[in-house]
């Protein structure tokens, strides 16, 4: 096919460009399920201990909301439950980001044009990007299947788990390819793609926590993973859903791509103002212009998540009403209030991780600007470097406060509206959300410090976030040693409202964050820009 000529060279080029990134994604996403299964094997050796764990997790809707339903209390079943849904979400992000990086980003920067002038067919870049993304998914699937089977888990379940992650990768590669067609800007396409991944995650969450809306989970490629039931009577026909979804979406994408010009989006660009508005005359005005869209988008997205958590909080009460025995157990543990409080503290912890991702992203905007040499235009004017750095850093610091406040208040208000105590519940969850801010700021500080002092390594801040995510999500259930848990700032935040407020950890986190910010600004002041 002529439209695919040059695909071999493109695949080699993309593999060369991603020679570090994709292997890291594949290794981490492949190793985490295997490591988790191995840890479960060591920790939950008896049937009784596994049943006990299963009873705890199935009784807490926070776990179901975040991780999906647990179908089987075997090692495999527990691993599929613990890793499957959240892992599918992250695999989806990987696929979307990889696709957009090699399609729309190249078109936006004109690299596609350079390629297009050589012998490269119209669909070749898209097909090449799909090939390497799908290949990454296959490698992840193979690592998981071989690893789980190697641990002695049932072979059918191991295959289902591995192939399930591959299928999720393929589905979201199609999502990424589709999003890349719509707009001219890679950043907008990325926002859309990531938004779709988030939407599918939330869809299945809504389906998993409420009895009547269970069908919602069937609308989500992420929801399909738990419906595949690895290690719990595999339903192989679920793969047909992923395949149908991917084929349909890819077909639409190819049609759109055939009809548009290279470099253009399916949605046409519009002319803008010939003069700058009064606000666009300062560094902070420019930063607002560059940051406002993503701030609004992330706040809205996490606000929706807060509402869903608020609604889920009430299902605890319902469950207890259905089950007098369970209610009695909870009474002995400290009452329903304590259970809801624990739930909201955990929910807010998740929101804080996502808010940290926003924070890192907005601080790294400085690096994007520097890499594209746009920062040079600004720094050659009468703009002191610290002022320039602060103009974006402000979003890294204040953005998470806004996001956590909105999401926390909405979660509390939603729950309050259901239980009839808006005035009481809103501030309780809001305070809980705000208590996460100092921990988020430590990550913000780490990002600016890396950027200021070691700009080449600034992307490592994503690694720091992944590290905190793994510690927070798996640390307790896999019984990591306390010293390793202590490495994450989030470990030190009291579980408000379930726990009492203590000032000391906050003071230490704030001091650490302030020190990192100061070091970062000082580093940026003293170094060459663009960095070499």
């Amino acid at each position: 096919m002529k439209s695919l000529s040059g695909i071999g060279a493109l695949i080699r080029l993309f593999l060369r460009l991603d020679r570090v990134r994709l292997p890291v994604w594949a290794l981490v996403l492949g190793a985490v399920p295997v490591g988790t299964a191995s840890a479960f094997q060591g920790l939950y050796t008896t049937e009784a201990s596994r049943l006990e764990l299963a009873a705890t997790v199935t009784s807490n809707p926070a776990f179901t909301a975040l991780l999906g339903p647990l179908y089987d209390p075997s090692i495999g079943g527990l691993t599929a439950w613990r890793i499957g849904t959240l892992g599918s979400f992250i695999v989806g992000l990987m696929a979307v980001l990889t696709m957009i990086r090699h399609t729309r980003d190249d078109e936006e920067t004109g690299r596609r044009e350079l390629m297009g002038s050589t012998v490269v067919g119209r669909h070749a870049p898209l097909a090449a990007a799909l090939t390497i993304t799908v290949a990454t998914g296959v490698i992840i699937g193979v690592i998981i299947t071989v690893g789980l089977a190697g641990l002695g888990l049932p072979i059918e379940g191991s295959i289902a788990f591995g192939a399930g992650f591959t299928a999720v990768t393929i589905s979201f590669a199609a999502v990424g390819a589709f999003a890349a067609q719509l707009t001219q800007a890679g950043s907008t396409a990325r926002g859309m793609g990531v938004g779709i991944v988030g939407l599918f995650f939330v869809l299945r969450m809504a389906g998993d926590v409420s009895d009547g809306l269970g069908w919602l989970s069937w609308l989500s490629p992420i929801g399909w993973f738990s419906r595949l039931r690895p290690f719990a009577g595999e339903r192989w026909w679920v793969f047909a859903l992923w395949i149908g979804f991917s084929v349909a979406l890819t077909t639409i994408t190819l049609v759109v791509q055939s009809r548009r010009d290279v470099g253009e989006g399916a949605l046409p660009p519009r002319p803008g103002p010939a003069r700058a508005a009064a606000g666009l005359g300062t560094t902070s005005g420019l930063a607002w212009r560059l940051q406002r869209g993503s701030l609004v988008g992330w706040t809205a997205g996490l606000g929706v998540l807060g509402i869903i958590y608020g609604a889920a909080g009430d299902s605890i009460g319902e469950m207890l009403a259905d089950n007098p025995q369970l209610a009695e157990i909870f009474e002995q543990m400290g009452g329903t209030q304590t259970i809801t409080d624990t739930f909201f503290a955990a929910a807010v912890g998740i929101i804080a991780i996502v808010a940290s991702a926003y924070s890192i992203r907005s601080v790294l905007k400085l690096k994007t600007e520097e890499d594209s040499l746009r920062s040079e235009l600004v720094l050659a004017t009468a703009t002191p470097r610290p002022r320039y750095a602060w103009s974006h850093l402000l979003y890294g610091l204040a953005g998470p406060v806004v996001i956590l406040a909105v999401a926390g208040a909405l979660a509390g208000a939603t729950y309050g509206a259901i239980v009839g105590d808006v005035a009481g519940e809103t501030p309780r969850v809001l305070v809980s959300a705000m208590s996460q801010v100092p921990a988020v700021w430590v990550l913000t500080g780490a990002t600016i410090a890396l950027y200021g002092a070691f700009p080449r390594l600034a992307s490592l801040s994503w690694g720091v976030l992944a590290f905190c995510l793994i510690l927070g999500q798996l640390g307790q259930i896999l019984q990591f040693p306390q010293w390793s848990l202590n490495l994450s700032p989030f470990t030190h935040v009291p579980m408000i409202p379930a726990e009492e407020f203590v000032a000391a950890p906050f003071a230490i986190l704030l001091a650490l964050a302030a020190g990192l910010v100061i070091a970062g600004i000082a580093g940026f002041r003293a170094r060459d820009t663009p960095y070499s």
Partner: protein
């Protein structure tokens, strides 16, 4: 006369690579100074040191009487810069960028802004990502040229412009010269430097190899002579100061040192000159000589 830019012995290393290796540059206030060199000679690195973006590793640098690293912010109020590779914000229109950069520098000349938009035929309502390279360059040029500043630092400003726009650029720089603005024009486009610049510095591998007015530089070099003669021109071979002699039947092409022209004419006349073309070295030739056989220049 004080110097707007004064650099001596400037050094800058990136790892083990010496980007600047003892570069000198003097730009007098009010002059248009050509900063010539091929890609990778160190022009952009020099400019980034002047802008306080890079820290020098050695040598003296003075910009508008100040230290470009320590007093960057104050000095930047008095200058405007056009980078060689202009990258704009994808979501901002050209008009917005012009206003933004102008305001960040401390004000725009409104009538000049309007005039330049007209002359450069630039649509200010288009978004940054939809501009071609030339149009992105025009956005940065309009922003710089309509700022109220003493010094313009332009890094290959016409690389993406068509000849018509290049002519507009030249006339705009002429106007700036008349206003007494100082211009540092980094370029490898020789015709542009020849047409605009009072003085030229030529850099190669991070060092200044030549500096002076065009007249001074030409003085150092050879004139090209092409002639058709009736007699056998072999005798020219023995003349001192004649280089690169090419003979084809009765056609002669050669280069002669500036101070040997009289002797050449004396020797040519008896051969029966039918046609004679002689031209001073273009900057092109100056340039080629510096880069092609620069190592063993006579």
């Amino acid at each position: 006369m004080s110097n707007a830019i004064s650099i001596s012995g400037l050094e800058k290393h990136f790892g083990h690579v010496a980007a600047l290796d003892g570069l000198d540059l003097e730009v007098a206030t009010g002059e248009v100074h050509g900063f010539l060199g091929p890609n990778g000679a160190g022009k952009t690195t020099t400019i980034r040191v002047l802008l306080g973006l890079l820290r020098s590793d050695g040598g003296e640098v003075s910009l508008l009487g100040g230290d470009p690293w320590k007093e960057a912010t104050e000095l930047h109020r008095r200058l405007a810069y056009v980078p060689g590779d202009v990258s704009l914000w994808p979501n901002l229109t050209g008009g917005e960028v012009i206003d933004l950069l102008g305001r960040l520098r401390g004000g725009l000349d409104e009538s000049r802004r309007a005039d330049l938009l007209e002359r450069f035929d630039l649509d200010p309502t288009k978004k940054g990502r939809t501009y071609s390279k030339g149009n992105r360059q025009k956005v940065a040029l309009v922003a710089a040229l309509s700022s109220n500043v003493e010094l313009l630092i332009l890094d290959e400003p016409t690389a993406g412009l068509d000849p018509l726009m290049e002519a507009q650029f030249r006339s705009a720089i002429e106007e700036d010269r008349e206003k007494g603005r100082t211009v540092l024009l980094a370029s490898h486009i020789l015709a542009e430097v020849e047409a605009l610049c009072d003085r030229v510095s030529i850099v190669r591998k991070g060092r200044t190899v030549e500096s002076g007015t065009l007249h001074q530089l030409r003085h150092l070099t050879r004139t090209t002579v092409i002639a058709e003669v009736n007699a056998d021109p072999s005798a020219l071979r023995s003349l001192t100061g004649v280089h690169g002699l090419k003979m084809q039947d009765h056609r002669v092409e050669l280069e002669v040192d500036g101070d040997r022209m009289a002797e050449l004419m004396t020797s040519l006349a008896p051969l029966g000159v039918r046609t004679l073309v002689s031209h001073p070295p273009t900057l092109e030739e100056l340039f080629m000589r510096h880069y092609q056989d620069g190592e063993n220049r006579e």
